[in-house]
């Protein structure tokens, strides 16, 4: 019998033969995740939705809408740890599954809102939620002047939609999924310096029924995938310094995909490549790195870094609820305010910049056919040639931009940015966003080659402020390289970036080519995360897509101070 220790010894000795744990050879179960769960009873969801709406109407609501959601989530994860005193063979962690059903009803009485939500649904609960929400709205109306008026555009008919996927991950045997993970791990762990690693597949399917007193009865079936691969490695440098490196795979698409996101790729190659990157980073960190020199420099940001910065700066600043002050007592407001004065007038970015919101894009985490107010999904240009031309709106807020829309002969209607859930009243949240590039734009290599002195930044994240007006963040030495005379140079340590948001976006002097666009996943709304913790069955993510860019005069900090 091959013990774990012997197994590790064999692969670590570089025998060239990958031996798998004996348990793998016994795989063959055809049980799928679908076998774990009961079928989602869509008729029941629709019945609950209609009951809630009728109850709200009967209680006096002038308008009401409801979201009834049933969701199922399954996770398969395999890990390996080789850095401690007792190295292990790759093993499958305990599988986990979640089931959930919830309902959220929103009612309007004399222009005032009320909302009631519940985990778990029966017809009686649905009726109670409809009545309770209406009761709250009625009690609230005296203190809620001026009355809320909803913009037109909500659905008034029946409809159905499903995430377009190629293969349902719930139909793939769990053992086959685990085998793919374990074989891929076994193909990577012999690499010298690796400490630990893990691969995971998280699959979710949910059916959401939306109904409203406008006559809408919409059924949407979502499937999404969130595969992950990560490794940590150590390397000792010539001076004895131990560098710690980590890497996560970015080749596997997350979002509205099925099993194809894993199966259509060379998964083992991706896993091994991620392990190699972790080792490279550890080696780089073990070497003496050059410290960041403070000052203003040209910086080339990778596509993923630009996507992260879009999702942390201009994207949420264009949330009309935020710009109108709805979140003043929570996350904050927006520097893009007052919206009615700025829209069509204010240049927030360089003329080359166009930013679109798109909830119809295939594979996006925020992709739908209708948003959670029943507004049909569409593509909306938010920033055109650098100028703010629209905000992310809801039916409640779209009227704030009425004169702008009317001046452009556009209907005054929501552009479909609302999300809601059982315990979360509908609110504007980040949709999928795109920073567009041109087909003939420069490649990342071209952007670097045209930079005399500066830096290349591979990853970014943001630490904004309460109006998203400024940002500051730091990046590890594995993700920053110096650029000298058009060539990549040393890794840079203690590297920080600070900027004023509109100055940064106006200083974009070149955008990369569309073919190099990459996605970054971001939380659609932090408030939603807080309110829905414990309920994993609602979508909280958005997919932000961007191309690489070169930005001039970026303020570089050294974050290595020790006092």
């Amino acid at each position: 019998m091959t013990t774990r220790r012997v197994f590790l010894g064999q692969v670590a000795a570089g025998s060239g033969v990958i031996l798998l744990p004996r348990s793998l050879t016994r795989l063959g179960s055809s049980v799928t995740a679908a076998n774990l769960f009961p079928a989602i009873d869509e008729d029941a969801l629709r019945r609950f939705a209609v009951a809630a709406i009728e109850a709200a109407r009967a209680a006096g609501a002038s308008y009401a809408d409801v979201r009834v959601t049933a969701g199922q989530q399954f996770q398969v994860h395999s890990s390996w740890s080789g850095g401690g005193a007792r190295p292990l063979a790759p093993y499958m962690s305990l599988p986990s599954a979640r089931l959930g059903v919830g309902i959220g009803v929103r009612a309007l009485v004399d222009g005032a809102w009320g909302f009631a939500g519940n985990d778990g649904v029966t017809e009686g609960m649905a009726v109670e939620c409809g009545r309770t929400a209406t009761g709250f709205a009625r009690g609230n109306r005296r203190r809620s002047e001026p009355p809320i008026v909803l913009a037109a555009g909500g659905a008034t008919t029946r409809g159905e939609w499903s995430t377009p996927i190629e293969q349902d991950p719930f139909s793939v045997p769990i053992a086959e999924q685990a085998q793919l993970q374990l074989e891929a791990l076994a193909g990577a762990i012999h690499l010298s310096g690796l400490q630990k690693g893990g691969v995971g597949f998280s699959w979710r399917r949910r059916t959401q029924v939306f109904a409203s007193t406008d006559g809408a009865l919409l059924t949407q079936r979502f499937v999404d995938a969130n595969p992950s691969v990560g490794f940590e490695a150590h390397a000792r440098g010539p001076s004895g310094v131990v560098g710690v490196g980590s890497a996560e795979a970015d080749e596997l698409a997350s979002g509205g995909y099925g099993w194809e996101t894993v199966h259509a790729n060379d998964f083992a190659r991706i896993v091994r490549g991620t392990a190699e990157r972790a080792i490279e980073e550890a080696r780089a960190r073990a070497l003496p790195v050059k410290d960041a020199e403070v000052g203003r420099y040209d910086v080339v940001f990778s596509a993923e870094a630009m996507a992260a910065l879009l999702g942390a700066t201009v994207g949420p600043a264009l949330d009309l609820e935020r710009a109108l002050g709805f979140r003043a007592n929570q996350a904050g407001t927006s520097f893009l305010a007052p919206p009615a004065d700025l829209v069509g007038q204010y240049a927030v970015a360089a003329p080359a910049v166009t930013i679109r919101a798109d909830r119809t894009r295939r594979g996006g985490f925020a992709t739908v056919a209708w948003d959670d107010e029943g507004t049909p999904a569409s593509e909306t240009t938010l920033v055109e040639r650098g100028v703010v031309v629209d905000y992310l709106t809801s039916r409640e807020t779209a009227g704030e931009l009425a004169s702008w829309y009317e001046g452009r002969r556009q209907p005054v209607r929501s552009n479909g940015a609302c999300r809601g859930a059982a315990l979360f009243a509908p609110a504007v949240c980040l949709p999928n966003l795109t920073l567009e590039g041109a087909a003939s734009g420069p490649s990342t290599a071209d952007l670097i080659a045209n930079t005399k002195r500066g830096f290349y930044v591979e990853f970014a994240h943001g630490s904004a402020d309460q109006q998203l007006a400024s940002n500051q963040f730091a990046i590890g030495s594995g993700a920053v390289r110096e650029i000298r005379q058009g060539k990549l140079g040393s890794p840079i340590g203690d590297f920080g970036v600070q900027f004023i948001t509109p100055v940064f976006w106006k200083n974009i002097e070149a955008l990369g080519r569309a073919a190099e666009a990459r996605d970054h996943l971001t939380l659609a709304d932090r408030r939603a995360l807080e309110m829905m913790s414990g309920n994993p069955l609602h979508s909280l993510l958005a997919t932000i897509r961007a191309v690489p860019a070169r930005v001039r005069d970026v303020n570089i900090l050294n974050v290595g101070r020790t006092a």
Partner: protein
């Protein structure tokens, strides 16, 4: 079994309901280890936006999580929010099928079994039924609306209340249950031109200890006084940090995991080779950081989410020296240490004489008074360097007096630097949901740049 006898809102899982659920589930696992976590909650909220009530919300959540360990040594973790007969049947089925798919058996992991818990502090208060009702919250909202209207400023307020229950049980005899309540009120008052802003918060497990009048008065006053801020040069200033600002700096320090420290993943790491900073002087020698479930200003439960007892308070820092890190039972066994459980929530306080706000202000030649820090993010793991911005009340102090409102700053600081530049401290108060902290007078605080954000 730990008992509390709160008056819970309907729909929450009482102790008896959790026991009944466990009995229903465990009869399907008579010879195999199984454990159950049962969480439920009811929350209610009234939100005021720009002076008007925008939302009155109420929600109820429930989550039951089953962990099974089959005879073949296979485990699975399954949860559901549907706890009727059919839902629990689905849960059991999913757990059995999922566990059967575990490729690498983990071996038998026996449950904790019966545990002895100390007498818990009171966590659940009937007074929270007042803000749970729309009318109870309406009274608070009306006070905020009246005060902001009188002052001619825009009021943005949240009044929230919640009851929660949590139980962890296993079929080896573990049975722990707690119920808790919490209520809070916060107000951001902004001038109509959006140039000035003031904020205040008060929250507690007992609504009777939530200072609604104080929140309204303080937020409106800070807003009025901050109406016309002027820009001053960024740089290093002596600052007075209000308790909420201290809590914002302290919060990123609360990752007490010894495992992560040994792996080089927190500021408590010496290196990534298994060495941490236990025993090192890391803060001013007057400072203490403790987590005490019986803290009258921040009571918490006496068992963890897996049922491990929390027998006593934990001293993280004593006289500025790192005295403890958290060792779970597996890591403690691996490292030959005693298990140390993180009770959640902390009290930061200074040993010695406290200083009043007036005396702090009087002692400052030139400095800045900071009400709150916001959007705090980490810049450097090893040093704990943070960035973020001041918010909702920043004032210049000159010659012992507050002289004017100033524009907001971005700061670049580490709590491990700040808590070594301590000049004076006040009495600790409940500063956030998880933290009790004092006001502090600190020298050389790095207000590194200006921000236009208000």
């Amino acid at each position: 079994m730990i008992s509390t006898d709160p008056m819970l809102p309907p729909g929450l899982l009482t102790r008896d309901a959790c026991l009944a659920l466990a009995e229903r589930v465990f009869r399907h696992f008579t010879s195999e280890p199984a454990s159950l976590q049962c969480a439920s909650g009811a929350h209610a909220e009234t939100q005021v936006v720009r002076g008007r009530v925008r939302a009155v919300n109420e929600g109820r959540n429930v989550l039951v999580t089953l962990r099974v360990n089959t005879a073949a040594g296979r485990t699975a973790l399954v949860s559901t929010s549907q706890i009727d007969e059919a839902g629990i049947g689905d849960l059991i089925h999913a757990a059995r099928v999922a566990a059967g798919q575990l490729v690498t058996p983990t071996g038998h992991s026996p449950g904790l079994g019966p545990q002895v818990y100390p007498e818990p502090p009171k966590l659940c208060f009937d007074s929270v039924h007042v803000p749970m009702s729309p009318d109870g919250r309406a009274a608070v909202v009306a006070a905020a609306q009246a005060a902001t209207e009188r002052a001619g400023v825009m009021g943005n307020a949240d009044v929230r209340a919640e009851f929660t229950t949590f139980a962890v049980l296993d079929n080896a005899g573990l049975s722990a249950y707690r119920a808790g309540s919490f209520a809070e009120c916060s107000l951001t008052a902004r001038t109509k031109d959006g140039k000035g802003s003031g904020w205040a918060w008060s929250g507690f497990e007992d609504w009777n200890r939530v200072d609604v009048d104080g929140v309204v008065r303080r937020a409106v006053e800070l807003c009025e006084r901050s109406a016309k801020p002027v820009a001053i040069e960024p740089g290093r200033y002596t600052v007075i940090l209000e308790p909420a600002a201290v809590a914002a700096l302290l919060e990123p320090m609360l990752d007490w995991s010894a495992r992560k420290a040994d792996w080089g993943m927190t500021p408590y790491s010496r290196d990534p080779l298994g060495n941490n900073k236990l025993g090192l002087q890391m803060l001013d020698s007057r400072l203490q950081v403790v987590a005490d479930p019986w803290d009258p200003d921040k009571p918490t439960g006496v068992f963890t989410i897996i049922g491990t007892p929390i027998p006593s308070k934990v001293t993280w820092f004593e006289d500025g020296v790192l005295r403890n890190l958290a060792y779970d039972r597996y890591y403690a066994r691996e490292k030959g240490k005693f298990e140390v459980v993180d009770p959640s929530g902390v009290r930061l306080y200074g040993r010695g004489e406290t200083t009043s706000l007036d005396d702090m202000i009087r002692s400052v030649q030139r400095g800045v008074w900071i009400n709150r820090l916001s959007h705090v993010g980490r810049l450097h793991m090893r040093t704990g360097l943070l960035t973020g911005t001041t918010r909702d009340g920043v004032f210049l102090i000159e010659n012992g007096k507050i002289v004017k409102a100033v524009k907001n700053f971005r700061f670049t600081e580490s709590p491990f630097f700040v808590f070594n530049k301590l000049e004076a401290f006040g009495e600790p108060v409940r500063a956030s949901r998880e933290i009790v902290a004092p006001r502090m007078l600190v020298r050389d605080f790095d207000l590194s740049s200006l921000t236009d954000a208000v």
